[in-house]
Amino acid sequence: MIRVDNLSYTYGNGVQALRNITAVFPREHIFAIMGRSGSGKTTLLNCIARFLRPQQGAVFWEKTNILDLDEKRFRSILGVVFQRLNLFPHLTVLGNMTLAPRRLRGCSRQSAEAEALEMLDRLGIAELAESYPAQISGGQAQRVAIARGLMLKPKVMLLDEPTSALDARTTSEFAQWLRELKSATSFIVVTHDLSFAGETARNGMFMVGGRIRECGRMEDIFKHVKKEAGTYD
């Protein structure tokens, strides 16, 4: 369980991207963080992932401040898939997936690759194993990036705008894929695409101007948001 306590973050240029955020992310399959462009979603994600250090407040994993966890343990708890994915272009899909397990857990090449193939198979993208990132489509790349993160079996995985590079049809295919994905990992999905969020998550939060406007069941959030913004899609 991740808990965010009174978190504020201000960028060097004076933009206050997060204002006193307090929230609890329950352990469930998929949780959505929504909000318009510029509302502070990525900033929140980067604070949770320790890539930004908040000026005020803290992030907790169970009862521990994440700043007190050592790097190796922290990264085994929390995985991140960036908006731009950042697959390693010089490695095949298998190479992308096995690098961290081999270096961090000292797995042999064979066992790491067997594990990766099994994972790809489970995610239904086994045919991509030997491809290079430049040779696969955006939707496939999104899945590969998630598969790469899942290799380390994190407890929680953050996905930043997973659908921003996908067309409508690929997006709904991806939503279904994510929903049916059998994994012990819970996902926190950052998105401005409300229909995608509605398709995947049961609970979520809606951010406006660095604050949480709504938090709870998706139906309730939609009701409020629709009433307020009228035409927000």
């Binding site: 992932a49 890539f51 790097e71 190796k72 922290f74 990264r75 085994s76 995985g79 991140v80 960036f82 731009r84 994915l85 950042n86 697959l87 390693f88 272009p89 010089h90 690098l99 961290a100 270096r103 961090l104 290079y132 990132p133 430049a134 696969i136 489509s137 955006g138 790349a141 790469r148 993160g149 380390l152 590079a165």
Partner: protein, 475 residues
């Protein structure tokens, strides 16, 4: 017989004031000559040093009860090398001039010679002495005293300089100059050897006394050499040696122009091997240094600031100064042995050029790559080794290859610090065969055989990178 421009170099090194280990302190008499000045010094049929100066050196060493050791070096830096204690003396047909006497002490002359004007036998310009040469192009070897003499006494003559008589002979053959001035003895000998249609015209311009320079502080050595030289003149030894090379009796004149094919091939291949050895060791050193240097160049903040500035400055200095000066500085200024000087200098040079390639290669990798690797929990060393470096390396390969090719070509410069590499060996062959066209062509070809595949490879990698979309913002 050669001039003061070398004094400039030697003066420069004199100011820097270096103290490398004294050569020949023991039982050896180490003397220098060029090995490219037949019949005074050249390589014989077996590829060994021979000539009038060589025989005189050996005889003097024998009389001093020392073993004779000969160092073949470029004329351009020969005095500087003496001042830098690379050898005890120069027995290489050096004329005694007041300018040189300021820096070194000369022995009594061991032979006299004189300047002579030579023209084509068909004499198209109707030239019979220097007085008829106003407006004509007259050639001299770069660094010889004749240049000064002509410019002072015949201001109307256009004096042109060349690296050796080989080039001058070619120019006169092609009628691109009207004549040349050189030592009478050497000129006649070379013309006979090469069967060129050139003849001496007019009388000797002036006489030069040829002596043996030693450093000023070697008073005792100078005394011993003087004693040996006057004894050799008195007992006829000098005359005997002289006759070996300039005797009127043709059968007694030593043959030199006929190196066997095997010797020539051997010299060229050995020179080529030396060139490759120097090139690849310095490339290796350069690359190993370039990686940390390139990484440093990327980081300018905080504690990195000082090392970053130091590397930046050093790289700029190396890139902004001629390699030739760096070579001479390391060799004469810092007192390195020729081989170490070559490898160290070219290695550092390679580093400077490659560091820039390494830096821009590293910069071409999307910072998101590092972030993603960090998100996977990979420690800094692994991130560099498995994620950043492999991508950067593909991008930096083409510029690295260019540096490698440039460096291989730069090895040609090390001939000036008396390393027997390809060019020097080619020149030593040319100095006796007088066939610059074929031997320079062979040398160029050998270089090309190495550089061509490298250039091709570089182009191929470049295309490959573009095709595979390695640089960032692939999907």
């Amino acid at each position: 017989m050669r001039s003061g421009f070398i004094l400039l170099i030697s003066a420069a090194w004199g100011i820097i004031g270096c103290s490398p280990p004294a050569a020949g302190a023991g039982r050896e008499l180490v003397t220098a000559l060029t090995g490219k000045f037949p019949p005074f010094s050249y390589y014989d049929r077996q590829g060994k040093l021979a000539g009038f100066d060589v025989d005189v050196s050996r005889e003097i060493a024998r009389r001093l009860h020392r073993k004779s050791k000969l160092i073949a070096t470029e004329w351009d830096g020969i005095l500087a090398g003496l001042l830098a204690k690379k050898y005890d003396a120069i027995i290489g047909s050096m004329a005694i001039t007041p300018e040189r006497c300021k820096r070194v002490n000369f022995s009594i002359p061991y032979y006299n010679s004189g300047a002579q004007l030579f023209v084509r036998r068909d004499n198209p310009g109707r030239i019979y002495s220097l007085d008829e040469c106003a407006g004509c192009r007259i050639a001299v070897v770069l660094g010889e005293t004749y240049q000064r003499f002509l410019e002072k006494n015949y201001p109307d003559i256009k004096v042109v300089t060349f690296k050796s008589t080989v080039e001058i002979f070619e120019m006169l053959e092609q009628k691109r100059i009207s004549g040349f001035v050189t030592d009478k003895l050497v000129g006649c000998w070379q013309i006979k050897q090469t069967k060129r249609p050139f003849v001496p015209v007019g009388g000797m311009l002036y006489t030069e006394r040829i002596g043996i320079p030693v450093r000023k502080e070697r008073v005792e050595l100078l005394k011993q050499i003087n004693r040996a030289v006057s004894a050799m003149r008195a007992d006829g030894t000098m005359k005997k040696i002289y006759r070996r090379y300039f005797g009127t009796d043709v059968s007694s004149v030593r043959q030199s122009g006929e190196m066997t094919f095997a010797v020539k091939a051997g010299k060229l291949l050995k020179g080529f091997a030396v060139t490759l050895m120097i090139a690849f060791s310095s490339i290796l050193i350069g690359f190993l240094l370039a990686v940390p240097a390139g990484v440093l160049l990327m980081h300018a903040g905080g504690i990195w600031l000082i090392p970053n500035l130091a590397v930046r400055w050093f790289v700029d200095v190396i890139r902004g100064t001629p390699v030739l000066i760096q070579l001479l500085f390391v060799w004469l200024g810092l007192g390195f042995r020729p081989f170490s000087a070559a490898i160290v200098t070219l290695g550092i040079c390679a580093m400077a050029y490659m560091a820039e390639a390494v830096r821009s290669g590293l910069l071409s990798v999307d910072p998101g790559q590092n972030l993603a690797a960090k998100a996977l929990g990979l420690p800094a060393v692994d991130r560099f080794r498995f994620v950043i470096w492999p991508q950067a390396f593909r991008v930096m390969l083409p510029p690295l290859m260019n540096s490698v090719v440039a460096l291989i070509k730069d090895t040609a410069l090390v001939s000036v610090i008396s390393i027997p590499e390809l060019i020097r060996e080619a020149q030593s062959i040319i100095s006796v065969t007088f066939e610059p066209r074929i031997y320079y062509l062979i040398a160029a070809l050998l270089f090309f055989i190495v550089t061509f595949p490298l250039m091709k490879l570089s182009g191929k990698i470049e295309r490959n990178i573009k095709a595979r979309g390695f640089q960032y913002d692939q999907g």
